[in-house]
Amino acid sequence: MQAEYQTQSMQGQTKYGATANFVGTMRDFNEGDDVQSMTLEHYPAMTEKQLNIIVDEASKKWPLQNTLIIHRVGEIFPAESIVLVAVWSAHRGAAFDACRFIMEDLKHKAPFWKKEALTTGNDRWVEENTKGY
């Protein structure tokens, strides 16, 4: 619902020529093991604060018309989306770069944690994200 609302809010606007989207999707494998599902935990009040800081930083670096971040929490299954980052700007350079920046910063700073349930029946916390660059 939030995505629909935000997208509609760009309708009728004529100043943006580029929209860059990134969608992160859950794999059914990680570090050589088959993963059955994943539970995402977060720190609600800090998540919002941190995402706002990240978007503010991106807005200082690039001229952005609008941004949208949606991140799932709770139980997630393979092939389901985990995260969406969308950026609207006048030109593609700013849109691509800002989308990448927001996604990388989110991965390093936003307080989310993944716990994987393996097909073997074991659970394990993901200890660190893979490098993006």
């Binding site: 992160g24 800090m46 604060k49 991140h71 995260v83 307080p111 989310f112 944690w113 200890e127």
Partner: protein, 82 residues
Amino acid sequence: MSIKVLYFASLREEIGRGGDVVDISTDQSSHSLSVEQLWVNSTGQTHFPDNLLVAVNQEYTNPQALLNDGDEVAFFPPVTGG
């Protein structure tokens, strides 16, 4: 002074609870309490782990930061969202 402490993810499971309320008497609080001292006080552990992250009032800070009455302090492992 009273400090609300939160633990997340693998740390919450290791410690066995989601949080604590740490009350420090007025005498003790005449000396400023740091994040690192709070960690020792609330968890009983003597060492502040290298990869442990800390936020005061939902913003990242460091173990040397000083605390005020009513602060919310969160300890957690490296984040793995996205």
